[in-house]
């Protein structure tokens, strides 16, 4: 984000504590900005000299590895951070085939499993993560609000710990070494056009409702598309699953057969693979309901087209969100100063700026406590607590997203994350699934 944006944040932070004049805010902002540079790292000058030649390459998908965040980290930390974007498959391919070319691989749970097994990561020492105790227990303990978090698919907790720095085996329970450090996550469901549907949508089976024939779409990334389909099948009562995140061949067959039958009836207008495609399909009126990501729904709304992110709270063991989480790993080849810098970088993520940034397009930080410090009360209330906005809500780049009075679809973070049904994954029967998915595609 630009210098201006940064000041903007600081001023909001100040105005939250006390009503002050605009001039005082600006002055205060300048002072805070200066203090923050030193404050965040709290490092002596020598350190600054030694690290200025360091460059960290943070590589991953565009919604997780964000240039504006890297730029801010670089400014706060004093060493160079280069953010490199690849799509999910290209990223994991690069991590496993050219691990030396990456310092901070950005990983999803399933990618972490693969990367750990192949020995390309080193453990992250829990005691070197300052805010570790403030990380939501969704990640560190696999529970939230005194409830166990779903273990269907690969929950972040499931991929979280190893026993030693060099270990290549992920283990249950809380340990001193982490495989990856969660940095951004969300709960996915469907998006729909309320103006064209005319009633609230709260169940996945609506995705397959004949009422929306020729106007529905599904996500075409086989690993997660199949789970959206499974949620809908489960909701409609077509199939019951033991574990939607790790289906048996029989469950896969049943799910794909349902999809093929729907496709033959002309139910799906399209499938989509990228964020932009899902936005375009919805905005252009091709689709009125589809599996969709929360910021994509927001992007449709910014165009002035009504679009709602369906709240799909768990009911009778059905429904629920599909959760995902991206975290940062430490490449095995990092040592010495570069490793120290990497730890600084990881800690910076939990210092709040990044948490506030991603919150403004609908994602969450694992440490909401620090993120809150960089948000106004209105923002935190809207994005995290599900409260009606008391003022205009803007996205991270300053575009107005919501008017006062608006409420976030799906409610608070607690409402959403106590209703996770399954997590993004790669199944044991993945190859079989991928083949059957392609049969659906070519049907």
């Amino acid at each position: 984000m630009s210098e201006r944006g940064k000041k903007h944040d600081r001023s909001r932070e100040i105005s939250r504590t006390a009503p002050v004049s605009r001039r005082a805010v600006l002055k205060g902002a300048a002072a805070m900005g200066a203090a923050a540079g030193a404050g965040v790292i709290g490092a002596p000058v020598i350190w600054a000299q030694e690290i200025k030649d360091i460059e960290l390459r943070h590589v991953g998908v565009s919604y997780s590895v964000v240039k504006a965040i890297g730029d801010q980290a670089q400014k706060d930390l004093g060493f160079k951070v280069s953010m490199q974007n690849l799509d999910t498959s290209a990223a994991i391919t690069r991590f496993v085939t050219q691990p030396e070319s990456v310092d901070i691989p950005d990983l999803e749970g399933w990618q972490t499993k693969v990367a750990v097994a192949r020995g390309i990561l080193q453990g992250i020492e829990v005691k070197r993560i300052k805010e570790f105790d403030n990380i939501l227990p969704i990640f560190t303990k696999g529970e939230y609000e005194a409830k166990k978090v779903s273990r269907q698919g690969i929950s972040p907790y499931e991929a979280m710990y190893i026993e030693s720095k060099e270990s290549t085996k992920i283990v249950e329970g809380v340990h001193d070494w982490m495989t990856f450090m969660p940095q951004v996550y969300n709960a996915d469901s469907m998006g729909y056009r309320p103006d064209l549907i005319g009633r609230p949508i709260t169940e996945w089976k609506e995705l397959f409702n004949p009422e929306f024939k020729g106007k529905a779409a599904i996500l075409d990334v086989p690993n997660i598309g199949i789970m959206d389909a499974a949620l809908a099948c489960e909701s409609r009562g077509d199939v019951t699953y033991k574990n939607k995140g790790n289906m048996t061949r029989e469950e896969i067959d049943k799910t794909i057969d349902v999809l093929i039958a729907l496709k033959k009836q002309g139910h799906f207008r399209a499938t989509w693979t990228t964020f932009d495609q899902s936005v375009e399909l919805m905005a252009a009126g091709e689709i009125i309901i589809q599996s969709m990501w929360s910021p994509a729904v927001a992007a449709v709304r910014v165009k002035g087209i009504p679009c709602i992110y369906a709240p799909v709270n768990i009911k009778d063991g059905r429904e629920g969100y599909r959760g995902w989480c991206n975290g940062m790993g430490l490449a095995r080849h990092l040592t010495g100063k570069k490793l120290d810098a990497a730890y600084e970088y990881l800690n910076w993520y939990y210092s709040g700026w990044q948490g506030a940034f991603v919150a403004r397009y609908g994602y969450y930080s694992p440490v909401p406590k620090t993120a809150a410090k960089f948000m106004t009360e209105n923002e935190y209330g809207y994005w995290y607590e599900g409260k009606p906005a008391t003022d205009i809500i803007k996205d991270p780049y300053g575009v107005v997203m919501e008017q006062p009075g608006a409420k976030r679809d799906g409610g608070s973070i607690v409402d959403r994350f106590t209703n996770i049904s399954c997590w993004n994954t790669v199944m044991d029967e993945n190859q079989y699934m991928s083949r059957r998915w392609n049969e659906f595609k070519s049907a």
């Binding site: 999910t88 498959s89 994991i92 391919t93 496993v96 499993k113 693969v114 097994a117 192949r118 020729g214 779409a217 075409d220 990334v221 086989p222 690993n223 496709k263 799906f268 207008r269 399209a270 499938t271 989509w272 693979t273 495609q277 375009e280 399909l281 252009a284 009126g285 091709e286 790669v426 044991d428 993945n430 190859q431 991928s434 083949r435 998915w437 392609n438 049969e439 595609k441 070519s442």
Partner: protein, 287 residues
């Protein structure tokens, strides 16, 4: 003085090296990986035919090839018809050679932008609320938008034809330019109609152009996954898009076996085309 043999060898060497490094070696890797074994977390070097067995036994393979071949055939047909007449017009109807070359260059103008932009620009035209549907509704021709225009086989073929016709025009333009005009006079003296001249004089003489253009178009369609994916709205899969799905979850050996199989199929197709027309003789003889 170097002997003739050494001189030839030296002349061939640079290209041979380039082909070795950038073609033979990578293909060698793909072939090697296609025999590897893999489990959930790793690829194990091995010599196992399991990936080929999987590719050849899957019903999906047949479906994908049929679907891709159908697109290849349709696109080949339309690009050939359009390409032939565009080239014919440029060569035989535009008297001024300078104008002809100018118009030929105009054909390449769309190529100043990227493939992706040219493809995506069809979306606002063909969509439910796109220009064509709105226009037709505005004129009262139709009352509901025509849905087959976008995210269908139709839209896939339209964009392929748009993207690839130039690859037909170029070799045809080239072959036609080399036809001796006096043949037309001779044909007309012998009493042929215009259509007969085209069929019995022009077509046989541009066979090599047709073959080269066909090879370009067919191999491009066989190797594509992006146009199919976007223009069909993801409702069609192609041979390569299935490989892409494999790679996205690190199923490299299976994808490699698929790739080798595709190479074999495409080589066979090109072989068949070249068998029908001996391009080398056509090109050399005409000199």
């Amino acid at each position: 003085m170097l002997s003739a043999r050494v001189r030839v060898a030296l002349q061939v060497l640079p290209l041979a090296l380039v082909l070795l490094v950038f073609f033979v070696v990578p293909i060698g890797f793909v072939v090697a990986v296609s025999f590897f074994h893999y489990d959930d977390f790793g690829i194990v070097p091995a010599f196992s035919p399991e990936n080929y067995a999987a590719v050849l036994s899957e019903h999906l393979t047949l479906d994908l090839y049929l679907s891709t071949l159908r697109f290849a055939a349709l696109v080949w047909f339309f690009t050939l018809i359009i390409g032939f007449w565009v080239a014919y017009f440029l060569v035989f109807h535009v008297r001024n050679q300078l104008v002809a070359i100018g118009l030929f260059l105009v054909c390449t103008v769309p190529f100043w932008t990227s493939n992706i932009i040219r493809m995506i620009s069809w979306l606002p035209l063909l969509g439910k609320e796109g220009l064509i549907n709105r226009g037709l509704i505005g004129l009262g021709v139709i009352h509901r938008p025509l849905e087959f225009l976008l995210f269908s086989d139709f839209s896939v073929v339209v964009s392929y034809v748009h993207l690839f016709t130039i690859f037909m025009i170029v070799p045809l333009f080239n072959s036609m330019s080399r036809i001796d005009r006096s043949l037309f006079e001779a044909a007309s003296d012998a009493g042929t109609s215009r259509l007969q001249t085209v069929l019995f004089v022009v077509v046989p003489l541009v066979k090599s152009g047709i073959v080269l253009g066909s090879i370009f178009v067919i191999t491009l369609v066989m190797g594509d996954f992006y146009v199919v994916r976007v223009m069909s709205g993801g409702s069609r899969a192609s041979v390569v898009s299935a490989m892409f799905d494999d790679i996205s979850v690190l199923l490299f050996p299976h994808a490699a076996a698929n790739a080798v199989f595709l190479i074999i199929i495409v080589v066979l197709m090109v072989g068949l085309i070249l068998r029908a027309v001996d391009v080398r003789r056509e090109l050399v003889d005409q000199r």
